[in-house]
Amino acid sequence: MGEFLGMFQGLASGFDIAFTLTNLTFALIGAVLGTMVGILPGLGPSATISLLLPLSFKIGSPVTSIIMMAGIFYGAMYGGSTTSILVNIPGEAASVVTCIDGYQMALKGRAGPALGIAAIGSFIAGTIGVLGLTFVAPPLAEFALKFGPPEYFSLTLFGLLMATLLGGGSILKGLIMVVLGLLLGSVGLDPISGAIRFTWGLHMLQEGIDFVTLAMGMFGVGEIFYNLEKVLKTELVTRKVTHLWPTLKDWADSKWAVIRGSFIGFFIGILPGGGAVISSLVSYAVEKRVSKSPEEFGKGAIQGVAGPESANNAAASASFIPLLTLGIPGNAAIAMIFAALLIQGVQPGPFLITEKPEIFWGVVASMYIGNVMLLILNLPMVGLWVQLLRVPYSILAPIVVLFCCVGVYSIRNTVFDIYVMGIFGVIGYILRKVDLEPGPMILAFVLGPILERAIRQALLISAGSPLIFFTRPISGALMGVLILFIVLQVFFNIRQKKKKMNP
């Protein structure tokens, strides 16, 4: 009971922080930017947050900059559906499945209800997600205080492997990116002995590869180079969007999809390695299976919009749980926020809630407010955003590149960093060309030092026996679930292959 009271007090103090003019302004900036990058194809939330990393120091206190970055992340989940529905191109990755039925609805002249249910579902799911964050995070953080090095090793390994299992691409390639990310993260001083690794005689590499330069290069510049290859055309189905408010029938059809989507999203988002993209795919699959008329899917079923759009919002909010309670980011966008916290000198982890309650509760409270802002931005004002789709990528691209250049320059005031970022940009471009997604790499880069410290300390404790990861209860349980997941995935792949051979 007392614990419960503590949460309400915490939340109340959080609202005090979130309702200051500065924080409200930055929550709004985050929501607007998030909606914007969500709508614009070719620019995702990860890239946008990476663009703002060099500025996070200058924006203000840690809580203010994290409020804004969080707003970008969950705001993009709102905006993404608009492009999926009206143009049949996902505005960002988590809205891929919304294209299927959302676009069909738009073709049938039902763009309004599709946009409406996406926004309302997003709001409900986002709020459920934040409620979950409010009540799950504090006890989880307390539980995590018991974690030692073996638990942290299992947890990071779990997160990294889950990110590749749930990543949507080839598992083999995902694993390759994880290993590459971990290796990149080991450049520079060894965190334990202080030995210098892989600097190839270059002094500048002694401090390691700078995360901000790497992230901006891989995500910002690399993505622009990649998109230059094709000419993105955004042709709208309709310019006039009416009847946004869903009818009673639409609402009756989609309310359970919204609720199911919210819970699916929440539970996938909370997993280390889980994220918004996979949760929307799972929600779509579930909706199709439980529907009484599955043949409607693909022809404009409103559940096919309501479910996934709710799921990705709930997942976006829930993915703050592993970040703020365990200090383990679950996906690339959250890894950027993790880096922003580190830049500000804040170590996310189980101590965050007790030692820096203003950051935790301030950000959580701002998410309640942000969801209301986003509902207003995306429901009555959606027509305005549709105009944004007319801004061609050809104008946006050079601006993004400029922003990267000036941003990376501003960190240390040296042009040299622009060259380094350019090199990462070209690498990021080539990696995308050969179908290697940089997301897991960025995640692994951030988790690398945590993983290394954990495994080496754990082996010190156990006098060299790797059994310690399986015999300690929490670590053992994590390993068990992980192995179960891998076995199930292998089993599923084999079954899938057999089906292909004799259909």
Binding site: L182, L183, S186, D190, S193, F198, C405, V406, S410
Partner: protein, 164 residues
């Protein structure tokens, strides 16, 4: 459910299978070089792992994964997909070139001029947008960026010869 969803997304993508083999060989080389150069670091023992312990282990995993990628690509039918669609390399190369030019010219010309010309060259050179659109956008964006970074964020931007 999670597992089937993953596969469905995977199939949606156009695979560039031919390039998997090349990628595999490059990654194999990276793995071998990393493994070789981490042997010069102290490996330590299992009971007391040193700085070379994890990198060496990771390099071995990378070697194994890249061999898996190579064998997988040999098993498949060879598909000759060009790395770039016809003349697809022109625009990205122009982008990289203009980017490089920006970094080179930033110190001598200063932020305002370089940024202005960068926007013009990019939008005209790559995208062939009408001049009536390019000019106001270039001026506007340069001004807004200068305002944000120089005044609001107080970044000392290079002034170039204009400061003389």
């Amino acid at each position: 459910m999670i597992f089937s969803a993953r596969i469905r997304l995977f199939k949606r993508r156009k695979s560039i299978e031919k390039w998997d083999r090349v990628t595999g060989y490059i990654l194999l080389a990276v793995g071998v070089i990393t493994a070789w150069s981490s042997t010069s670091l102290a490996m330590g023992k299992m009971r007391h792992p040193g700085p070379g312990f994890l990198p060496f282990g990771l390099a071995l995993i990378l070697i194994a994964l890249s061999i898996a990628l190579i064998t997988k690509s040999w098993k498949r039918e060879e598909q000759s997909v060009p790395f770039w669609p016809e003349r697809g390399w022109v625009r990205p190369l122009l982008g990289v070139g203009i980017f490089l030019l920006y970094a080179v010219l930033l110190p001598p010309l200063g932020f305002i001029l370089t940024t202005f010309f960068f926007l013009i060259i990019w939008m005209w050179g790559i995208e062939r947008i009408r001049w009536a659109t390019i000019l106001p956008i270039s001026i506007g964006v340069t001004a807004v960026l200068y305002f944000i970074f120089s005044y609001f964020l107080e970044v000392p931007l290079p002034a170039g010869f204009l400061s003389l």
